[in-house]
């Protein structure tokens, strides 16, 4: 057993790493409940007044509404596109499949600032007015690779003979899709919706470049940082977003694992994002 014990410095390294990773995140809720305008230690009394401030800021509510609209639209669109691409890669062979797929996945690794500037230039050239819908377009671009990655594993895990069995039993193609394919990849679809929504919700650069007068939540937060007195309420807002993101990601992973389990695979063996 002795041989399996990791050296002390490795444990120290692991702890240090986790602190580095999560300490800033922990600071967020800490100052959100701190009864002081200045973000500094030592902490003063506990308060929820920063959350009350959020409650009474109409501009914020508008930003939240915009973000929800953009997030839901981007999630739905990228999941539909992702499902088509995943289905095609899982079932059909066609020329340049790998190349095409590589290009679709590229936005995943491309710096967002480059994407944002390029999109802005393109939209200006086309003469399209900037609005929330241009933001949706940009977000779809960066969400689709994630949707494809999630949905490809869902479609690949689907035994082709299940669809054949359904047709053999008299069901049409569309009926087969509804009764067999869709229920079996549904956890993947929900997982893709949640991930895309989360990505869109906290995306800043593209939203900042491509939006018109309506701002999304991250852009609103950024604009508030100019006023030091607003900082604690931004902290409160950040805490809410953090909690929401974590919940969404956990939900997404839960659905993904359930899908793997349904298809009889070992959930931890198949790649996931969480």
């Amino acid at each position: 057993m002795k041989r399996n014990r990791s050296p002390k410095w490795l444990a120290f390294y692991a702890v240090a790493y986790m602190v580095f990773l999560y300490a800033p995140v922990v600071l967020l809720p800490m100052f959100a409940f701190n009864d002081a305008t200045v973000i500094a230690f030592p902490l003063s009394a506990f308060t929820t007044k920063w959350f009350d401030v959020l409650w009474n800021t109409p501009a914020l509510h508008l930003a939240v509404k915009n973000s929800l609209l953009v997030g839901v639209s981007a999630a739905v669109l990228s999941t539909i596109l992702g499902a088509c691409a995943a289905r095609a890669t899982a079932r059909y062979r066609f020329p340049l499949k790998r190349g095409i797929l590589g290009f679709i996945m590229l936005p995943m690794v491309l710096p967002e600032i480059i994407l944002a500037v390029a999109l802005l230039v393109l939209l200006k050239q086309l003469g399209l007015p900037l609005s929330l819908w241009t933001v949706v377009g940009g977000h779809v671009l960066i969400c689709v690779p994630f949707s494809i990655a999630i949905l490809t594993s869902a479609f690949n895990g689907l035994d082709q003979s299940l669809e054949e069995a359904s047709q053999d039993l008299g069901e049409s193609r569309w009926g087969t899709f509804q009764r067999v394919t869709l229920p079996l990849v549904m956890p993947g679809i929900i997982s893709s919706l949640l991930i895309s929504f989360t990505i869109s919700l906290d995306e800043f650069i593209i939203a900042f470049f491509l939006t018109g007068t309506d701002v999304t939540l991250p852009v609103y937060i950024w604009s508030q940082l100019r006023f030091p007195t607003k900082l604690p309420s931004v902290m409160a807002l950040g805490s809410i977003l953090l909690a929401l993101s974590v919940i969404l990601l956990i939900l997404a992973e839960w659905f993904r694992r359930r899908s793997a389990h349904k298809q009889g695979a070992d959930a931890s063996a198949t790649g996931g994002f969480v």
């Binding site: 069995a165 053999d168 039993l169």
Partner: protein, 377 residues
């Protein structure tokens, strides 16, 4: 696994109508010629097997009958109706997949009832049909089980019930027993055969297991490289294989060089080194083969006997030397060398009381008969 004699004699009656006609069925996958003109008639109510090594095209043929692949050329007629342009969901066939393809999100009853049309039958009638199908496959009371709670054998039964509930004209089975362990497989072979006979539905089985095909089938089509090499009853296939290849695929066959020396009223005269002159009836000659093309004879291991002291004399006797023994408990397989032959000959002997295992190197008398000889090119 032994079949009862009455089962063997209960072959499909000769006047049975063909339910499936295959005419010149050909399939290309790109440049790969998977099927090279298959002609066969499958009779109503028969248990028909497509037997062959992997890659011989047997599964492709089955999938074309089911409607999952279109033939590149030729026609498939089921029940007098051409299947050209008719998709899988419109065909009177139902398939038991190799992987069983049990819908993982549905329970047993939902799986079995999947194909029952919603409008056609009342909910009540559907449940009754499902129950009846489950009864057929001995799964009464399993209706609410989830798919992942089933064992391999149970999945196989569900897949079968799901096909049978559709009352198909033809049930297609794609290596349905290959995933089961030996004991369960033996049991399912008998059960499947009984079920098929009691229902009177045509079954088409794809298998690479010759024993399975022999046990279950009324007729077997042996396939090699996209062609049917021989289509015959199990007994005919075993006793009169048409080529060396078929002979060695079905069971074990000893091949010996031989020479045709003449042809008379009673049969062909052959000269076989070490075995001597022998006359073989004309009906042993495989179809399409001329007597002068015969260069090889075949004889099954169980058609040869090692003669012990006190054994009754055989029709013919030859001397041989034992070069190897394999003891199987109930049987012993001897490898012997006949003088003038380089190939070893296998003899299977039942280990009855008083028969000791012979030593390697000893010389033995081998008994054989002219009637057990098969002629080859």
């Amino acid at each position: 696994m032994h079949l009862l004699p009455e089962v063997l004699s209960d072959m499909t009656s000769p006047e049975a109508q063909p339910i499936i006609n295959l005419t010149g069925v050909t399939k290309y996958f790109g440049t790969f010629h998977a099927l090279k003109g298959i002609d066969a008639n499958i009779k109503e109510g028969e248990f028909f097997s497509l037997l062959g090594p992997s890659g011989c095209g047997k599964t492709t043929l089955l999938r074309m009958i089911a409607g999952f692949e279109d033939p590149s050329d030729g026609t498939i007629v089921i029940g007098g109706k051409s299947m050209a342009g008719i998709s899988a969901n419109q065909r009177p066939t139902n398939m038991v997949f190799q992987s069983y393809a049990i819908f993982p999100h549905l329970n047993v009853a939902e799986n079995v009832g999947y194909g029952l049309k919603k409008g056609k039958l009342s909910k009540q009638a559907q449940l009754a049909e499902v129950e009846k199908a489950l009864e057929m496959v001995d799964l009464v009371g399993y209706g609410t089980r989830a798919a992942h709670e089933l064992s391999g054998g149970q999945r196989q039964r569900v897949a079968l019930a799901r096909a049978l509930v559709m009352r198909p004209k033809v049930v297609l089975l794609d290596e349905p027993l290959s995933a089961l362990d030996k004991n369960l497989r033996d049991q399912m072979q008998v059960e499947l055969r009984r079920l098929q006979q009691s229902l009177g539905i045509t079954f088409i089985l794809v298998t690479h297991d010759q024993e399975e095909a022999l046990i279950m089938s009324d007729r077997i089509a042996v396939m090699f490289e996209g062609k049917i090499a021989q289509l015959a009853t199990p007994e005919e296939l075993y006793r009169r294989p048409i080529s060396r290849r078929v002979a060695s695929f079905i069971g074990v066959m000893n091949f010996l060089e031989a020479r045709v020396t003449g042809s008379g009223e009673a049969g062909l005269q052959l000269d076989i080194p070490a075995l001597g002159q022998v006359e073989v009836s004309h009906d042993h000659l495989p179809e399409g083969l001329n007597p002068q093309d015969i260069h090889t004879i075949g004889i099954r291991p169980e058609m040869l006997t090692v003669l012990y002291d006190g054994d009754q004399g055989a029709e013919r006797i030859a001397q041989a030397q034992v070069v190897g023994t394999s003891y199987y408990g109930d049987m012993t397989y001897y490898s012997v060398l006949l003088p003038g032959h380089t190939e070893e000959v296998t003899i299977s002997m039942r280990n009855t009381a008083g028969r000791s295992i012979l030593n390697v190197g000893s010389t033995v008398s081998v008994g054989w008969g002219a009637d057990s000889i098969v002629l080859f090119e």
